[in-house]
């Protein structure tokens, strides 16, 4: 090889290597801030599990002492691939009814705003099968922002934002609001998935989707919707036993009209008494706020007890219930630092006690509420402090 060729080859090789090194080392390089989007869950043995992106791998981190120390991480995908890991669209982790450990993520394609929904399973909780794409559609379009729900009968349902209907409408030169929500059902604990199907038309395009199990055991998915002409309220649907959508109901009524991307999705939980509790972000009367409310079922959903969460800068709240308690965690910039705050209710959401959990000077992921039997914890990843969990009182 000529000197020139060798030098040129070396120089070109150096680019991805530098990029990889900078990616692995936060703070190196002005453009190489790591995407912090992570998820956490407790394994059946009580260990704390976290999934996060490192380069082109989703890594599984395990702590046997509630986050005081971490074992060497395990790569979920043996073959490297691009992985989305921002707060709204992060890798997810769940445990199937048969004990299989499931990790899902969006694999973005080089074309912007496109990707596929991927899932890997570890029957033993450690060794992952090669990831599969949960949908059959192979078009280079949006299949992103998945939500993963595991059911007691070993069903696994993933629902995501999908733009195949939008693309079809574009090709036919017909108008189409937003995107669509599609879902894929597995009846074998995530080993295989049936062909995907549409849950709803006209979802918003880049907000996280949330899911829960309703009082009667029916799966529910909730997402930010685009109601005509441009109201960005939320919608939800219950799924029948065969996985098909029952009906799509409007779940919030704040009537935020904007031709824009809020990038701020909801969170939903159904408590032990079967009451649905949600948190979401909307602009109401000209002011953007995080709201809490109970979504009462019926021919039309009624929002009961709607109230703001935190102050005007509150953002990206999560909600969970366990042991007779309901907890909401969110982050809120105070002008200097990002505060992690939470509020806990022991009376089903009628009243809450607010608490300060932590603060960080740097970038941070959205907080996630997780549960271990009757105990709730807030998990928060920050650029400076790493993974942390806070037990809820």
């Amino acid at each position: 090889m000529c000197h020139f060729c060798r030098a040129a080859a070396l120089a070109f090789l150096a680019i991805p290597l530098l990029a990889l090194a900078a990616d692995a080392m936060p703070g190196m390089g002005k453009a190489m801030r790591p995407e912090l989007g992570s998820s956490a869950a407790f394994a059946p043995d009580g260990n704390l599990l976290v999934v996060a992106r490192q380069g082109e791998h989703v890594m599984l981190y395990r702590s046997t002492d509630d986050g005081q120390s971490w074992l060497a991480p395990v790569a979920v995908n043996a073959e490297p691939e691009a992985i989305s890991a921002d707060g709204e669209n992060r890798p997810k982790i769940a445990i199937a009814a048969d004990g299989g450990l499931l990790v899902s993520w969006t694999h973005p394609f080089p074309k912007s705003n496109t990707g596929s929904v991927r899932l890997a399973r570890a029957g033993d909780g450690q060794t992952f099968s090669p990831p599969l794409t949960v949908h059959q559609d192979t078009a280079i379009i949006t299949h992103r922002f998945e939500s993963m729900l595991t059911m007691p009968d070993n069903r696994v349902i993933l629902a995501w934002i999908d733009k195949r209907d939008l693309e079809l409408a574009k090709a036919n030169k017909t108008p189409y609001r937003g995107a669509a929500i599609y879902a894929a059902l597995s009846t074998d604990g995530g080993r295989s998935f049936q062909p995907e199907y549409k849950l709803a038309d006209h979802s918003c395009e880049c907000c996280r989707v949330t899911s829960a199990i309703d009082r009667d055991g029916a799966p529910i998915f909730m997402w930010r919707h685009v109601y005509a002409p441009n109201e960005r309220d939320h919608a939800m649907t219950r799924l029948k036993p065969d996985g098909k959508a029952e009906n799509v109901q409007r779940a919030t009524f704040d009537r935020w009209k904007v031709d824009g991307c809020p990038h701020h999705g909801p969170s939903l939980v159904v408590d032990e008494k079967g009451i649905r509790h949600a948190v979401w972000f909307n602009q109401k009367d000209g002011e953007g706020r995080v709201f809490y409310g109970r979504l009462e079922p019926g021919a039309e959903i009624k929002v009961d007890g709607q109230r703001p969460v935190g102050g005007p800068r509150a953002a990206h709240a999560d909600i969970a219930a366990a042991g007779g308690k309901l907890a909401i965690a969110w982050k809120e910039f105070d002008g200097e630092r990002t505060q992690l705050r939470a509020m806990v209710s022991t009376d089903g959401g009628s009243s809450f006690a607010e608490i300060a959990l932590a603060a960080s000077e740097g970038a941070s992921d959205q907080p996630r509420l997780i549960r271990r039997k009757g105990q709730l914890f807030t998990f928060w990843r920050t650029e400076r402090e790493g993974f942390r969990i806070f037990p809820m009182p």
Binding site: I15, P262, A315, E361
Partner: protein
């Protein structure tokens, strides 16, 4: 030989990257950029991101307006750190003004400095008339709104 060629190789590699450079934005620079006192001519500061389809509509309109009336200055801020996909997305609009992307400062501090009332939704556009006036538009902008806020005609 190689000593003579090496700078050329680095220029070949660094040239396109340097041309595509975004200025990293921190909270202090953001505060200054969004202050009406910083703008002595009609200026638009347009917030956008790679994930925001509506932002493309705004950038397209701003590109057309800036080419129709040279008095309009358009500054762009990508509300995310610089990445290889940013420049190819912005380049087609041929906007001559400064372009920023989030730097290493806390993104929430940058967002707060840009607009304490901003909840993160995009696009968000700040219109300065160059005489101390400033207006904020959430979502898609129109020629009418730009004309009213800047006092320019297109």
């Amino acid at each position: 030989m190689i000593r003579r060629i090496l700078p050329l190789i680095f220029l070949l590699i660094a040239g396109p990257l340097a041309a595509a450079d975004f200025t990293p934005l921190d909270r202090l620079a953001a505060q200054k950029l969004l202050s009406p006192e910083s703008h002595r001519q009609a200026t638009i500061v347009a917030l956008w991101s790679s994930d925001c389809n509506y932002c493309k509509k705004n950038l397209k309109l701003l590109s057309s307006l800036a080419h129709r009336n040279q008095k309009l200055r358009v500054i762009t801020i990508a509300a995310e750190p610089e990445s290889p996909e940013l420049w190819p997305m912005l380049k087609p609009y041929a906007l001559a003004g400064p372009r920023y992307a989030y730097g290493t400062d806390n993104p929430e501090a940058i967002a707060y400095a840009i607009d304490a009332k901003w909840g993160g939704e995009l696009p968000r556009t700040f219109l300065f008339d160059g005489r101390g006036g400033k207006q904020t538009v959430a979502g898609v902008i129109s020629i009418d709104s730009v004309e009213k806020a800047t006092g320019l005609r297109f």
